[in-house]
Amino acid sequence: MNANLSTNSSTSLSTNRIAHAAIAAKGRWSAHKWLILRRVSQFGILALFLAGPWFGLWIVKGNLNYSYTLDLLPLTDPHVLLQSLLAGHSPEKNALLGAAIVAAFYFLVGGRVFCAWVCPLNPVTDLAAWLRTRLGIKGGTHVSRHARLWILGLTLVLALATGSIAWELVNPVSMLHRGLFFGIGLAWTAVLAVFLFDLAVMNRGWCGHLCPVGAFYSLLGQRSVLRVTATRRAACDDCNDCFVVCPEPLVIRSPLKDGDRGVGPVILSSQCTNCGRCIDVCAKDVFAFGTRFNQSVSPLIGAQPAASK
Protein backbone atom coordinates (compact mmCIF):
# COMPACT_ATOMS: atom_id res chain seq x y z
CA MET A 1 0.00 0.00 0.00
CA ASN A 2 2.81 2.37 0.86
CA ALA A 3 4.25 1.83 -2.59
CA ASN A 4 1.21 3.44 -4.10
CA LEU A 5 2.51 7.00 -4.17
CA SER A 6 0.08 8.25 -6.75
CA THR A 7 -2.83 7.91 -4.33
CA ASN A 8 -3.65 11.59 -4.21
CA SER A 9 -3.69 12.18 -7.94
CA SER A 10 -5.74 9.09 -8.67
CA THR A 11 -8.32 10.18 -6.09
CA SER A 12 -9.09 13.26 -8.08
CA LEU A 13 -9.00 11.43 -11.39
CA SER A 14 -11.52 8.79 -10.46
CA THR A 15 -14.08 10.32 -8.18
CA ASN A 16 -16.45 7.50 -9.02
CA ARG A 17 -14.06 4.91 -7.62
CA ILE A 18 -15.84 3.19 -4.76
CA ALA A 19 -13.97 2.65 -1.50
CA HIS A 20 -10.89 4.38 -2.84
CA ALA A 21 -9.99 6.11 0.40
CA ALA A 22 -10.51 2.93 2.37
CA ILE A 23 -8.25 0.93 0.02
CA ALA A 24 -5.55 3.54 0.44
CA ALA A 25 -5.90 3.57 4.20
CA LYS A 26 -6.54 -0.07 5.05
CA GLY A 27 -5.53 -2.12 2.04
CA ARG A 28 -7.58 -3.98 -0.51
CA TRP A 29 -8.62 -6.87 1.75
CA SER A 30 -9.82 -4.77 4.68
CA ALA A 31 -11.69 -2.46 2.31
CA HIS A 32 -13.58 -5.42 0.85
CA LYS A 33 -13.65 -7.91 3.69
CA TRP A 34 -17.38 -8.00 4.38
CA LEU A 35 -18.19 -7.73 0.71
CA ILE A 36 -16.06 -10.78 -0.04
CA LEU A 37 -17.46 -12.72 2.90
CA ARG A 38 -20.93 -11.84 1.72
CA ARG A 39 -20.23 -13.10 -1.79
CA VAL A 40 -18.75 -16.27 -0.31
CA SER A 41 -21.96 -16.73 1.66
CA GLN A 42 -24.22 -16.03 -1.33
CA PHE A 43 -22.35 -18.22 -3.78
CA GLY A 44 -21.59 -20.84 -1.15
CA ILE A 45 -25.30 -21.28 -0.54
CA LEU A 46 -25.89 -21.50 -4.29
CA ALA A 47 -23.09 -24.09 -4.54
CA LEU A 48 -24.70 -26.18 -1.80
CA PHE A 49 -27.96 -26.19 -3.72
CA LEU A 50 -26.20 -26.88 -7.03
CA ALA A 51 -24.11 -29.78 -5.70
CA GLY A 52 -27.19 -32.00 -5.91
CA PRO A 53 -28.39 -31.44 -9.47
CA TRP A 54 -24.90 -30.98 -10.91
CA PHE A 55 -22.78 -33.54 -9.06
CA GLY A 56 -25.35 -35.77 -7.39
CA LEU A 57 -24.21 -34.57 -3.96
CA TRP A 58 -27.53 -34.17 -2.21
CA ILE A 59 -26.68 -32.06 0.80
CA VAL A 60 -29.62 -29.74 0.27
CA LYS A 61 -32.79 -30.40 -1.69
CA GLY A 62 -35.32 -27.84 -2.79
CA ASN A 63 -34.89 -24.09 -3.00
CA LEU A 64 -35.24 -20.98 -0.85
CA ASN A 65 -39.00 -21.42 -0.54
CA TYR A 66 -38.37 -24.67 1.28
CA SER A 67 -35.26 -26.76 1.57
CA TYR A 68 -34.39 -29.97 3.30
CA THR A 69 -30.79 -30.35 4.43
CA LEU A 70 -29.26 -33.79 4.96
CA ASP A 71 -32.77 -35.26 5.31
CA LEU A 72 -32.87 -33.59 8.69
CA LEU A 73 -33.21 -29.83 8.69
CA PRO A 74 -36.30 -28.22 7.14
CA LEU A 75 -36.09 -24.51 6.27
CA THR A 76 -39.14 -22.65 4.98
CA ASP A 77 -39.55 -19.12 3.70
CA PRO A 78 -41.95 -17.70 6.29
CA HIS A 79 -43.32 -15.14 3.83
CA VAL A 80 -44.38 -17.88 1.41
CA LEU A 81 -45.80 -20.01 4.21
CA LEU A 82 -47.75 -17.04 5.56
CA GLN A 83 -49.30 -16.57 2.12
CA SER A 84 -50.17 -20.26 2.03
CA LEU A 85 -51.85 -19.97 5.43
CA LEU A 86 -53.80 -16.93 4.28
CA ALA A 87 -54.80 -18.82 1.14
CA GLY A 88 -56.52 -21.25 3.48
CA HIS A 89 -54.13 -24.19 3.59
CA SER A 90 -53.05 -25.93 6.79
CA PRO A 91 -49.46 -27.02 6.19
CA GLU A 92 -47.81 -30.20 7.41
CA LYS A 93 -45.34 -30.23 10.31
CA ASN A 94 -42.11 -29.86 8.31
CA ALA A 95 -43.15 -26.64 6.60
CA LEU A 96 -44.20 -25.09 9.90
CA LEU A 97 -41.06 -26.24 11.70
CA GLY A 98 -38.89 -24.90 8.89
CA ALA A 99 -40.59 -21.52 8.98
CA ALA A 100 -40.14 -21.33 12.76
CA ILE A 101 -36.40 -22.07 12.45
CA VAL A 102 -35.89 -19.48 9.71
CA ALA A 103 -37.98 -16.88 11.52
CA ALA A 104 -36.06 -17.43 14.76
CA PHE A 105 -32.72 -17.13 12.97
CA TYR A 106 -33.51 -13.86 11.24
CA PHE A 107 -35.24 -12.55 14.33
CA LEU A 108 -31.84 -12.77 16.04
CA VAL A 109 -29.33 -11.83 13.35
CA GLY A 110 -31.42 -9.25 11.51
CA GLY A 111 -34.24 -9.89 9.11
CA ARG A 112 -32.64 -8.36 6.10
CA VAL A 113 -29.50 -10.41 6.60
CA PHE A 114 -31.40 -12.62 4.17
CA CYS A 115 -31.20 -9.86 1.55
CA ALA A 116 -27.50 -9.21 1.90
CA TRP A 117 -26.15 -12.68 2.65
CA VAL A 118 -28.52 -15.19 1.06
CA CYS A 119 -30.75 -13.70 -1.64
CA PRO A 120 -29.56 -14.76 -5.13
CA LEU A 121 -30.81 -11.52 -6.64
CA ASN A 122 -28.58 -9.40 -4.43
CA PRO A 123 -25.40 -9.84 -6.54
CA VAL A 124 -27.47 -8.70 -9.53
CA THR A 125 -28.82 -5.55 -7.89
CA ASP A 126 -25.42 -4.87 -6.30
CA LEU A 127 -23.88 -5.05 -9.75
CA ALA A 128 -26.48 -2.64 -11.07
CA ALA A 129 -25.83 -0.21 -8.22
CA TRP A 130 -22.05 -0.50 -8.70
CA LEU A 131 -22.35 0.14 -12.43
CA ARG A 132 -24.66 3.05 -11.79
CA THR A 133 -22.07 4.66 -9.57
CA ARG A 134 -19.21 3.89 -11.95
CA LEU A 135 -21.07 5.19 -14.96
CA GLY A 136 -22.27 8.20 -13.03
CA ILE A 137 -25.94 7.55 -13.82
CA LYS A 138 -27.97 9.97 -11.75
CA GLY A 139 -31.63 10.59 -11.15
CA GLY A 140 -34.48 8.42 -12.35
CA THR A 141 -37.92 7.68 -11.05
CA HIS A 142 -38.62 8.17 -7.42
CA VAL A 143 -40.89 5.91 -5.47
CA SER A 144 -41.14 5.92 -1.70
CA ARG A 145 -39.18 3.28 0.17
CA HIS A 146 -42.47 2.45 1.85
CA ALA A 147 -43.76 1.07 -1.43
CA ARG A 148 -42.36 -2.35 -0.54
CA LEU A 149 -44.49 -2.46 2.59
CA TRP A 150 -47.54 -1.73 0.48
CA ILE A 151 -46.54 -4.45 -1.96
CA LEU A 152 -45.96 -6.82 0.97
CA GLY A 153 -49.49 -6.03 2.08
CA LEU A 154 -50.67 -6.68 -1.44
CA THR A 155 -49.06 -10.14 -1.53
CA LEU A 156 -50.91 -11.05 1.65
CA VAL A 157 -54.24 -9.58 0.55
CA LEU A 158 -53.97 -11.36 -2.80
CA ALA A 159 -53.28 -14.68 -1.10
CA LEU A 160 -56.34 -14.16 1.05
CA ALA A 161 -58.54 -12.99 -1.83
CA THR A 162 -57.50 -15.50 -4.48
CA GLY A 163 -56.75 -18.53 -2.29
CA SER A 164 -53.54 -18.85 -4.23
CA ILE A 165 -49.91 -17.93 -3.50
CA ALA A 166 -50.12 -15.18 -6.09
CA TRP A 167 -46.76 -13.48 -5.53
CA GLU A 168 -44.89 -16.67 -6.34
CA LEU A 169 -46.14 -16.44 -9.92
CA VAL A 170 -43.99 -13.36 -10.50
CA ASN A 171 -41.46 -13.23 -7.65
CA PRO A 172 -38.07 -12.76 -9.39
CA VAL A 173 -36.18 -13.86 -6.26
CA SER A 174 -37.65 -17.35 -6.12
CA MET A 175 -37.84 -17.52 -9.91
CA LEU A 176 -34.07 -17.06 -10.16
CA HIS A 177 -33.21 -19.36 -7.28
CA ARG A 178 -35.57 -22.12 -8.41
CA GLY A 179 -34.51 -21.65 -12.01
CA LEU A 180 -30.86 -22.29 -11.22
CA PHE A 181 -31.64 -25.79 -9.94
CA PHE A 182 -34.81 -26.77 -11.76
CA GLY A 183 -34.39 -25.13 -15.17
CA ILE A 184 -34.37 -21.38 -15.65
CA GLY A 185 -36.56 -21.09 -18.74
CA LEU A 186 -37.39 -17.47 -19.37
CA ALA A 187 -36.94 -16.55 -15.69
CA TRP A 188 -33.69 -14.87 -16.69
CA THR A 189 -35.73 -12.14 -18.36
CA ALA A 190 -37.20 -11.23 -14.97
CA VAL A 191 -33.68 -11.05 -13.53
CA LEU A 192 -32.53 -8.90 -16.44
CA ALA A 193 -35.56 -6.67 -15.96
CA VAL A 194 -34.65 -6.10 -12.31
CA PHE A 195 -31.04 -5.37 -13.30
CA LEU A 196 -32.01 -2.84 -15.96
CA PHE A 197 -34.63 -1.30 -13.68
CA ASP A 198 -32.04 -0.74 -10.96
CA LEU A 199 -29.45 0.49 -13.43
CA ALA A 200 -31.51 2.88 -15.50
CA VAL A 201 -34.85 3.57 -13.84
CA MET A 202 -34.42 3.69 -10.08
CA ASN A 203 -31.36 3.66 -7.86
CA ARG A 204 -31.53 0.55 -5.66
CA GLY A 205 -35.05 0.28 -7.03
CA TRP A 206 -35.86 -3.38 -6.49
CA CYS A 207 -34.30 -4.20 -3.11
CA GLY A 208 -34.63 -0.71 -1.71
CA HIS A 209 -38.11 0.22 -2.79
CA LEU A 210 -40.23 -2.60 -4.18
CA CYS A 211 -39.30 -6.10 -3.02
CA PRO A 212 -41.92 -7.44 -0.58
CA VAL A 213 -39.67 -10.32 0.45
CA GLY A 214 -37.12 -7.87 1.87
CA ALA A 215 -39.95 -5.88 3.43
CA PHE A 216 -41.21 -9.02 5.14
CA TYR A 217 -37.77 -9.83 6.51
CA SER A 218 -37.33 -6.24 7.68
CA LEU A 219 -40.47 -6.59 9.78
CA LEU A 220 -39.23 -9.92 11.07
CA GLY A 221 -35.94 -8.34 12.19
CA GLN A 222 -37.40 -5.30 13.95
CA ARG A 223 -35.88 -6.32 17.30
CA SER A 224 -32.88 -8.27 16.02
CA VAL A 225 -29.74 -8.40 18.11
CA LEU A 226 -26.91 -8.25 15.56
CA ARG A 227 -26.42 -4.67 14.36
CA VAL A 228 -23.90 -2.43 12.69
CA THR A 229 -22.86 0.31 15.03
CA ALA A 230 -21.00 3.58 14.45
CA THR A 231 -18.84 3.06 17.50
CA ARG A 232 -16.11 5.46 16.40
CA ARG A 233 -18.40 8.04 14.90
CA ALA A 234 -16.24 10.83 16.34
CA ALA A 235 -13.65 9.89 13.73
CA CYS A 236 -16.04 10.48 10.83
CA ASP A 237 -14.55 12.90 8.33
CA ASP A 238 -17.74 13.32 6.26
CA CYS A 239 -16.27 11.64 3.17
CA ASN A 240 -19.73 10.28 2.33
CA ASP A 241 -18.43 6.89 1.16
CA CYS A 242 -20.73 4.93 3.46
CA PHE A 243 -23.78 6.75 2.10
CA VAL A 244 -22.70 6.00 -1.46
CA VAL A 245 -22.30 2.25 -0.94
CA CYS A 246 -25.16 1.73 1.49
CA PRO A 247 -28.20 0.10 -0.14
CA GLU A 248 -30.36 1.78 2.52
CA PRO A 249 -28.54 5.09 3.14
CA LEU A 250 -31.35 6.47 5.28
CA VAL A 251 -30.47 4.08 8.08
CA ILE A 252 -26.97 5.47 8.64
CA ARG A 253 -27.48 9.18 9.09
CA SER A 254 -28.95 9.46 12.54
CA PRO A 255 -26.73 6.99 14.41
CA LEU A 256 -23.68 8.48 12.69
CA LYS A 257 -24.46 12.17 12.92
CA ASP A 258 -26.96 12.78 15.71
CA GLY A 259 -24.73 11.88 18.66
CA ASP A 260 -25.05 15.39 20.08
CA ARG A 261 -28.82 14.95 20.10
CA GLY A 262 -28.51 11.85 22.22
CA VAL A 263 -28.97 9.28 19.45
CA GLY A 264 -27.00 6.11 20.12
CA PRO A 265 -24.45 4.81 17.59
CA VAL A 266 -26.29 1.54 16.85
CA ILE A 267 -28.06 1.38 13.47
CA LEU A 268 -31.42 0.22 14.75
CA SER A 269 -33.41 0.53 11.54
CA SER A 270 -34.78 -2.81 10.47
CA GLN A 271 -34.05 -1.83 6.87
CA CYS A 272 -30.31 -2.24 7.49
CA THR A 273 -29.27 -5.44 5.73
CA ASN A 274 -26.16 -5.99 7.85
CA CYS A 275 -24.18 -6.16 4.65
CA GLY A 276 -21.21 -4.54 6.35
CA ARG A 277 -20.21 -2.56 3.29
CA CYS A 278 -20.04 0.66 5.36
CA ILE A 279 -17.53 -1.05 7.64
CA ASP A 280 -15.44 -1.89 4.56
CA VAL A 281 -15.42 1.48 2.86
CA CYS A 282 -14.80 3.63 5.91
CA ALA A 283 -11.19 4.70 5.91
CA LYS A 284 -11.58 5.78 9.54
CA ASP A 285 -13.06 2.50 10.75
CA VAL A 286 -16.10 4.23 12.18
CA PHE A 287 -18.39 1.20 11.86
CA ALA A 288 -18.26 -2.27 13.36
CA PHE A 289 -20.62 -5.15 14.01
CA GLY A 290 -22.10 -5.17 17.48
CA THR A 291 -25.33 -5.80 19.31
CA ARG A 292 -28.33 -3.57 19.67
CA PHE A 293 -27.72 -3.42 23.43
CA ASN A 294 -24.20 -2.06 23.32
CA GLN A 295 -24.65 1.67 22.84
CA SER A 296 -21.14 2.57 23.95
CA VAL A 297 -19.09 4.95 21.83
CA SER A 298 -15.31 4.71 21.61
CA PRO A 299 -13.46 7.90 22.39
CA LEU A 300 -11.38 9.24 19.53
CA ILE A 301 -8.10 9.43 21.42
CA GLY A 302 -5.39 7.00 20.33
CA ALA A 303 -7.71 5.05 18.09
CA GLN A 304 -6.72 6.02 14.60
CA PRO A 305 -4.36 3.43 13.15
CA ALA A 306 -5.03 4.58 9.61
CA ALA A 307 -4.11 8.20 10.31
CA SER A 308 -0.42 7.41 10.86
CA LYS A 309 0.17 6.81 7.16
Partner: protein, 258 residues
Protein backbone atom coordinates in the same frame (compact mmCIF):
# COMPACT_ATOMS: atom_id res chain seq x y z
CA UNK B 1 -53.71 22.39 11.78
CA UNK B 2 -50.89 21.46 9.42
CA UNK B 3 -52.86 21.42 6.21
CA UNK B 4 -50.06 21.29 3.57
CA UNK B 5 -48.43 18.44 5.44
CA UNK B 6 -51.67 16.56 5.78
CA UNK B 7 -52.52 17.14 2.14
CA UNK B 8 -49.11 15.87 1.05
CA UNK B 9 -49.57 12.79 3.20
CA UNK B 10 -52.97 12.07 1.72
CA UNK B 11 -51.73 12.59 -1.81
CA UNK B 12 -48.77 10.28 -1.21
CA UNK B 13 -50.96 7.61 0.34
CA UNK B 14 -53.48 7.84 -2.48
CA UNK B 15 -50.74 7.60 -5.08
CA UNK B 16 -49.29 4.54 -3.39
CA UNK B 17 -52.69 2.88 -3.02
CA UNK B 18 -53.46 3.47 -6.69
CA UNK B 19 -50.09 2.20 -7.90
CA UNK B 20 -50.15 -0.90 -5.73
CA UNK B 21 -53.83 -1.41 -6.50
CA UNK B 22 -53.06 -1.43 -10.21
CA UNK B 23 -50.28 -3.97 -9.63
CA UNK B 24 -52.70 -6.04 -7.58
CA UNK B 25 -55.33 -5.94 -10.30
CA UNK B 26 -52.83 -7.14 -12.90
CA UNK B 27 -51.53 -9.88 -10.65
CA UNK B 28 -55.04 -10.90 -9.66
CA UNK B 29 -56.05 -11.34 -13.28
CA UNK B 30 -52.87 -13.32 -13.89
CA UNK B 31 -53.74 -15.57 -10.95
CA UNK B 32 -57.06 -16.28 -12.59
CA UNK B 33 -55.28 -17.34 -15.77
CA UNK B 34 -52.76 -19.40 -13.84
CA UNK B 35 -55.53 -21.40 -12.17
CA UNK B 36 -56.45 -22.91 -15.53
CA UNK B 37 -54.15 -25.91 -15.66
CA UNK B 38 -53.72 -27.01 -19.28
CA UNK B 39 -55.45 -30.37 -19.86
CA UNK B 40 -52.22 -32.18 -20.80
CA UNK B 41 -50.47 -31.26 -17.52
CA UNK B 42 -51.11 -33.33 -14.42
CA UNK B 43 -50.32 -32.80 -10.77
CA UNK B 44 -48.45 -35.46 -8.78
CA UNK B 45 -50.54 -37.96 -6.79
CA UNK B 46 -52.33 -36.58 -3.77
CA UNK B 47 -52.83 -33.09 -5.15
CA UNK B 48 -56.25 -31.68 -4.41
CA UNK B 49 -58.34 -29.49 -6.68
CA UNK B 50 -56.22 -27.00 -8.64
CA UNK B 51 -57.66 -24.09 -6.67
CA UNK B 52 -56.54 -25.63 -3.36
CA UNK B 53 -53.25 -26.88 -4.73
CA UNK B 54 -52.14 -23.38 -5.76
CA UNK B 55 -52.67 -22.17 -2.21
CA UNK B 56 -50.90 -25.13 -0.66
CA UNK B 57 -47.88 -25.77 -2.88
CA UNK B 58 -44.89 -23.59 -1.95
CA UNK B 59 -42.96 -24.44 -5.13
CA UNK B 60 -40.01 -26.11 -3.40
CA UNK B 61 -39.59 -28.98 -5.84
CA UNK B 62 -38.96 -31.70 -3.26
CA UNK B 63 -41.50 -33.94 -5.02
CA UNK B 64 -39.52 -33.44 -8.24
CA UNK B 65 -36.31 -34.46 -6.48
CA UNK B 66 -37.79 -37.54 -4.84
CA UNK B 67 -39.61 -38.86 -7.92
CA UNK B 68 -37.69 -42.07 -8.81
CA UNK B 69 -38.48 -42.05 -12.56
CA UNK B 70 -37.92 -38.27 -12.66
CA UNK B 71 -41.08 -37.50 -14.59
CA UNK B 72 -41.98 -34.39 -12.60
CA UNK B 73 -40.83 -30.87 -13.47
CA UNK B 74 -41.39 -27.42 -11.99
CA UNK B 75 -43.17 -25.06 -14.36
CA UNK B 76 -41.08 -22.30 -15.87
CA UNK B 77 -42.58 -18.81 -16.05
CA UNK B 78 -43.25 -19.04 -19.79
CA UNK B 79 -45.24 -22.25 -19.42
CA UNK B 80 -49.00 -22.35 -19.03
CA UNK B 81 -48.76 -24.17 -15.69
CA UNK B 82 -48.54 -21.86 -12.63
CA UNK B 83 -44.88 -20.82 -12.20
CA UNK B 84 -42.83 -23.13 -10.03
CA UNK B 85 -45.47 -25.79 -9.47
CA UNK B 86 -44.85 -29.49 -10.22
CA UNK B 87 -46.52 -31.29 -13.11
CA UNK B 88 -46.04 -34.15 -15.56
CA UNK B 89 -47.12 -34.78 -19.13
CA UNK B 90 -48.48 -38.32 -19.45
CA UNK B 91 -47.44 -38.93 -23.04
CA UNK B 92 -43.77 -38.09 -22.41
CA UNK B 93 -43.48 -39.54 -18.93
CA UNK B 94 -46.31 -41.16 -17.04
CA UNK B 95 -46.53 -41.62 -13.29
CA UNK B 96 -45.03 -44.99 -12.35
CA UNK B 97 -47.33 -45.28 -9.34
CA UNK B 98 -44.54 -46.11 -6.86
CA UNK B 99 -45.96 -48.15 -4.02
CA UNK B 100 -44.41 -45.99 -1.27
CA UNK B 101 -45.37 -42.70 -3.04
CA UNK B 102 -42.09 -40.83 -2.35
CA UNK B 103 -43.33 -37.57 -3.91
CA UNK B 104 -46.16 -37.31 -1.42
CA UNK B 105 -43.84 -38.15 1.47
CA UNK B 106 -41.42 -35.43 0.36
CA UNK B 107 -44.05 -32.69 0.25
CA UNK B 108 -43.50 -30.45 3.28
CA UNK B 109 -46.86 -28.68 3.20
CA UNK B 110 -49.29 -31.47 2.42
CA UNK B 111 -50.16 -29.90 -0.93
CA UNK B 112 -49.75 -33.55 -1.87
CA UNK B 113 -52.02 -35.07 0.74
CA UNK B 114 -50.11 -37.20 3.25
CA UNK B 115 -53.29 -39.16 3.89
CA UNK B 116 -52.79 -40.82 0.52
CA UNK B 117 -50.98 -44.04 1.40
CA UNK B 118 -52.40 -46.36 -1.23
CA UNK B 119 -51.32 -45.22 -4.69
CA UNK B 120 -54.29 -47.03 -6.25
CA UNK B 121 -56.47 -44.42 -4.54
CA UNK B 122 -54.68 -41.53 -6.30
CA UNK B 123 -56.82 -39.57 -8.76
CA UNK B 124 -54.57 -37.57 -11.06
CA UNK B 125 -56.92 -37.65 -14.01
CA UNK B 126 -58.99 -40.16 -15.93
CA UNK B 127 -58.01 -42.12 -19.04
CA UNK B 128 -60.42 -41.97 -21.94
CA UNK B 129 -60.26 -43.95 -25.18
CA UNK B 130 -60.76 -40.82 -27.19
CA UNK B 131 -60.39 -42.01 -30.75
CA UNK B 132 -62.38 -45.07 -31.77
CA UNK B 133 -61.37 -44.55 -35.38
CA UNK B 134 -57.63 -45.12 -34.94
CA UNK B 135 -57.42 -47.42 -31.91
CA UNK B 136 -55.95 -50.67 -33.26
CA UNK B 137 -58.20 -52.79 -31.09
CA UNK B 138 -61.22 -50.99 -32.51
CA UNK B 139 -59.87 -51.77 -35.97
CA UNK B 140 -60.00 -55.43 -35.05
CA UNK B 141 -56.37 -56.05 -34.12
CA UNK B 142 -55.05 -57.31 -30.81
CA UNK B 143 -52.80 -54.39 -29.87
CA UNK B 144 -53.92 -54.44 -26.20
CA UNK B 145 -50.91 -52.29 -25.16
CA UNK B 146 -52.95 -49.86 -23.03
CA UNK B 147 -54.57 -52.79 -21.30
CA UNK B 148 -51.25 -54.54 -20.70
CA UNK B 149 -49.31 -51.55 -19.38
CA UNK B 150 -52.07 -50.49 -17.01
CA UNK B 151 -50.74 -50.86 -13.43
CA UNK B 152 -54.25 -51.86 -12.38
CA UNK B 153 -54.63 -54.62 -14.95
CA UNK B 154 -58.22 -55.75 -15.47
CA UNK B 155 -59.46 -53.16 -13.01
CA UNK B 156 -58.86 -49.75 -14.60
CA UNK B 157 -58.96 -51.06 -18.18
CA UNK B 158 -60.79 -54.18 -19.30
CA UNK B 159 -61.15 -55.65 -22.78
CA UNK B 160 -64.81 -56.03 -23.72
CA UNK B 161 -65.44 -58.45 -26.60
CA UNK B 162 -67.98 -57.60 -29.27
CA UNK B 163 -68.72 -58.84 -32.76
CA UNK B 164 -66.56 -57.52 -35.61
CA UNK B 165 -69.16 -56.47 -38.15
CA UNK B 166 -66.56 -55.82 -40.83
CA UNK B 167 -65.20 -59.36 -41.10
CA UNK B 168 -68.31 -61.02 -39.79
CA UNK B 169 -66.29 -63.73 -38.08
CA UNK B 170 -63.90 -62.01 -35.64
CA UNK B 171 -64.12 -60.29 -32.29
CA UNK B 172 -63.25 -56.72 -31.42
CA UNK B 173 -61.67 -56.41 -27.99
CA UNK B 174 -62.68 -52.95 -26.95
CA UNK B 175 -60.54 -51.36 -24.20
CA UNK B 176 -62.89 -49.86 -21.62
CA UNK B 177 -61.68 -47.57 -18.83
CA UNK B 178 -63.35 -47.86 -15.44
CA UNK B 179 -63.34 -44.59 -13.56
CA UNK B 180 -63.73 -46.23 -10.17
CA UNK B 181 -60.25 -47.75 -10.55
CA UNK B 182 -58.33 -45.51 -12.96
CA UNK B 183 -55.75 -43.27 -11.19
CA UNK B 184 -54.91 -41.21 -14.26
CA UNK B 185 -51.27 -42.28 -14.11
CA UNK B 186 -51.03 -42.02 -17.89
CA UNK B 187 -49.23 -45.31 -18.56
CA UNK B 188 -51.83 -46.18 -21.21
CA UNK B 189 -51.37 -42.85 -23.00
CA UNK B 190 -47.58 -43.13 -22.80
CA UNK B 191 -47.75 -46.71 -24.07
CA UNK B 192 -50.19 -46.22 -26.94
CA UNK B 193 -48.35 -47.31 -30.09
CA UNK B 194 -50.00 -44.79 -32.41
CA UNK B 195 -48.34 -41.64 -33.69
CA UNK B 196 -50.84 -39.70 -31.61
CA UNK B 197 -52.31 -41.65 -28.73
CA UNK B 198 -55.89 -42.87 -29.14
CA UNK B 199 -56.21 -43.24 -25.37
CA UNK B 200 -55.49 -40.10 -23.37
CA UNK B 201 -55.64 -39.00 -19.78
CA UNK B 202 -57.94 -36.06 -19.20
CA UNK B 203 -58.61 -33.99 -16.14
CA UNK B 204 -61.43 -35.85 -14.41
CA UNK B 205 -63.88 -32.97 -14.74
CA UNK B 206 -63.39 -33.02 -18.51
CA UNK B 207 -63.51 -36.79 -18.86
CA UNK B 208 -66.36 -37.77 -16.62
CA UNK B 209 -70.06 -37.40 -17.20
CA UNK B 210 -72.49 -37.16 -14.35
CA UNK B 211 -76.07 -38.32 -14.03
CA UNK B 212 -78.57 -35.76 -12.88
CA UNK B 213 -79.08 -36.09 -9.14
CA UNK B 214 -82.69 -37.11 -9.72
CA UNK B 215 -81.74 -40.13 -11.85
CA UNK B 216 -82.40 -43.57 -10.42
CA UNK B 217 -81.22 -46.75 -12.10
CA UNK B 218 -84.20 -49.09 -12.02
CA UNK B 219 -82.21 -52.28 -11.79
CA UNK B 220 -80.13 -50.94 -8.93
CA UNK B 221 -83.20 -49.80 -7.03
CA UNK B 222 -84.85 -53.13 -7.69
CA UNK B 223 -81.90 -55.00 -6.28
CA UNK B 224 -81.85 -52.74 -3.24
CA UNK B 225 -85.54 -53.24 -2.60
CA UNK B 226 -85.39 -56.97 -3.35
CA UNK B 227 -88.12 -56.76 -5.95
CA UNK B 228 -89.79 -54.60 -8.50
CA UNK B 229 -90.80 -51.17 -7.25
CA UNK B 230 -93.54 -50.68 -9.80
CA UNK B 231 -96.09 -53.14 -11.18
CA UNK B 232 -95.36 -56.84 -10.68
CA UNK B 233 -93.09 -58.08 -13.40
CA UNK B 234 -94.70 -59.80 -16.31
CA UNK B 235 -92.66 -62.58 -17.80
CA UNK B 236 -91.69 -61.76 -21.36
CA UNK B 237 -93.08 -64.18 -23.91
CA UNK B 238 -91.14 -64.83 -27.09
CA UNK B 239 -92.91 -65.66 -30.31
CA UNK B 240 -91.01 -68.85 -31.21
CA UNK B 241 -91.65 -72.02 -33.20
CA UNK B 242 -93.01 -75.01 -31.43
CA UNK B 243 -90.51 -76.70 -29.12
CA UNK B 244 -87.96 -73.87 -29.18
CA UNK B 245 -87.21 -71.72 -26.14
CA UNK B 246 -85.09 -68.66 -25.54
CA UNK B 247 -83.29 -67.76 -22.36
CA UNK B 248 -81.32 -64.55 -21.87
CA UNK B 249 -77.61 -65.31 -21.81
CA UNK B 250 -78.06 -68.83 -23.20
CA UNK B 251 -79.83 -68.21 -26.49
CA UNK B 252 -82.16 -70.50 -28.37
CA UNK B 253 -82.58 -74.09 -27.48
CA UNK B 254 -84.85 -76.89 -28.58
CA UNK B 255 -86.79 -78.67 -25.93
CA UNK B 256 -86.52 -82.08 -27.50
CA UNK B 257 -84.09 -83.49 -30.08
CA UNK B 258 -85.60 -83.90 -33.52
Amino acid sequence: MNTPFRRQFLVDAARMACGVGLLGLGLGLYVKQAKALPPVAFRPPGAGAEQDFLGACIRCGLCVRDCPPQILALAKPEQAVATGTPYFIARSGACEMCENIPCVKACPTGALDHKLTDIAKARMGLAVLVDHETCLNFLGMRCDVCYRVCPLLDKAITLEPRHNERTGKHTIFEPVVHSEACTGCGKCEAGCVLQVAAIKVYPTQLAKGELGSHYRLGWVEKKKAGGSLVAPEIEHRYNLPEGVTYEHGKGLSSEAPR
